[in-house]
């Protein structure tokens, strides 16, 4: 179909008056992009339609204009607060964000301080532990020291401790590695087993790990044992074997 036929087909009128189908519209718009002549023809028809419609105008009821203008003002006003509302929201969000960041900053710097002091404390402790160990090393002459690894019994399989026993000067040190926390009315008690007798070497609490305690001295020991006893001053004279938590045999003196 050539352009003249297309123009004469009634498509222009159909398009302008809103009677063309979707595909006809698309085609017409595409053709208009290609042929200025078609656009000019469309313009002519639109102008004649407009001028005829203006001639045939009917004045609308007088109150309609005021109603429309009022409706538009209302629409515009409802449009504006929305943007102010958004602005307020953004401002509020910014303030909240800022406050949040300040709070976060203080928290982080507080945490940093706490961490630093905890670190220092830890370092101090390590240093003091090291000092103690060095002291023990100095005091306990290594060649004559028996290290007894205390093995946890069924009752307390996790418990672990070492006894350092210097047979030359009879001194006993206990290194608590991991002993379960006890009820407040209980305490641990270390015993030396000597020829089927049990000698009280003192009581201790296991509130801290990896501490070294000086216990009572003993000249002889075939084994050491730790029991849990009722908290009394100086400890029980005889162990409650039911509550034996750890035991370790010495390799010497047997």
């Amino acid at each position: 179909m050539n352009l003249k036929e297309y123009i004469a087909s009634g498509i222009i009128e159909s398009y302008v008056m809103g009677l063309a189908t979707e595909s006809e519209r698309a085609e017409f718009e595409q053709m208009c992009g290609q042929y200025p002549e078609l656009v000019a023809e469309r313009g002519k028809f639109e102008e004649s339609l407009e001028s005829y419609a203006s001639e045939q105008a009917v004045p609308p009821p007088g109150e309609v204009k005021a109603k429309i203008l009022k409706a538009i003002v209302t629409m515009e006003n409802s449009r504006k607060p929305r943007s102010i509302g958004l602005l307020r929201f953004v401002a509020a969000a910014a303030v909240i964000l800022l406050v949040g960041m300040v709070v976060l900053y203080y928290q982080v710097s507080q945490q940093k301080k706490d961490l630093a002091s905890a670190n220092k404390e830890l370092l101090d402790r390590v240093n003091s532990d090291e000092e103690t160990i060095n002291k023990i090393k100095r005091e306990v002459s290594i060649p004559n020291t028996t290290i007894v690894s205390m093995v946890g019994t069924k009752r307390a399989p996790q418990s672990s401790a070492n006894v350092y026993w210097d047979s030359t000067n009879s001194s006993v040190y206990l290194m608590v590695k991991n002993m379960p926390q006890l009820a407040s009315d209980q305490q641990y008690q270390l015993w030396a087993l000597i020829d089927d007798k049990k000698k009280n070497l003192g009581v201790f609490d296991a509130t801290e790990r990896n501490i070294i305690l000086r216990m009572d001295s003993t000249k002889k020991a075939q084994a050491f044992a730790i029991t849990i006893e009722k908290r009394i001053k100086g400890g029980y004279p005889t162990p409650t074997l039911d509550s034996l938590t750890s035991m370790g045999k010495t390799q010497l003196t047997q």
């Binding site: 004469a8 087909s9 009634g10 498509i11 009128e13 159909s14 302008v16 008056m17 809103g18 009677l19 189908t21 718009e29 208009c32 469309r42 313009g43 028809f45 639109e46 102008e47 004649s48 339609l49 407009e50 005829y52 419609a53 203006s54 045939q56 105008a57 009917v58 004045p59 609308p60 009821p61 109150e63 309609v64 204009k65 109603k67 429309i68 203008l69 409706a71 538009i72 629409m75 515009e76």
Partner: protein, 182 residues
């Protein structure tokens, strides 16, 4: 009062897209009569209802002016189609149908349409007046398509004539109308 007396179409569209109130007042003053006329031609002799439709149409123009594309046609063409669509929607709305309960049902719209052209003179203005010059078989198709908003398919079914015939007759009728407009 600083309100321009005239605008070129370009200026008017630009001002409307800027949501310029005086431009909108100008638009109303210049086009409300023509648009009110087409509304009356479609929904009939109910001035109050037509006024409501006109209000809706201008509010839609205000709202949708951003989407108006000058490459696709004149501003008036665009507004005329908004007015026509709003009028047809009103025609089909429940409220309108209920208000005309005792009149023709939509299935009998062909009958209603042909009755209307002979009975009503009050709104026999504008394009509708031009329809009288058409051959009856053309007139009824334009009436159904343009003034009642039926699709070509619906009309073909309603009138039991082939779709191709409906399309050709409507196109021919429109070409004839164009001649009358000159």
């Amino acid at each position: 009062m600083g309100m321009p007396n005239t605008y070129t179409e370009q200026q008017l569209v630009a001002a409307l897209k800027e949501r310029d109130n005086p431009a909108f007042v100008f638009l109303y003053d210049h086009y409300s009569g023509a648009l009110y006329s087409i509304i009356r031609q479609i929904i009939g002799d109910n001035g109050e209802l037509a006024g409501d439709v006109l209000q809706e149409v201008f509010i839609n123009i205000w709202r949708k002016i951003e989407s108006y594309d000058q490459t696709k046609g004149r501003l008036f063409t665009w507004m005329l189609n908004i007015a026509r669509n709003a009028s047809i929607d009103t025609l089909r709305s429940k409220g309108y149908q209920n208000a005309r309960k005792n009149q023709e049902l939509p299935e009998n719209v062909y009958k209603a349409a042909s009755n209307q052209t002979t009975q009503q003179n009050v709104d026999n203005i504008g394009l509708k007046k031009l329809l009288e010059k058409l051959k009856p078989e053309h007139r009824v198709l334009v009436e159904l398509a343009y003034f009642k908003g039926f699709t070509h398919e619906e009309i073909a079914e309603m009138m039991t004539i082939p779709l191709g015939t409906v399309k050709t007759r409507i196109r021919n009728a429109l070409l004839q109308l164009r001649e009358y407009l000159k």
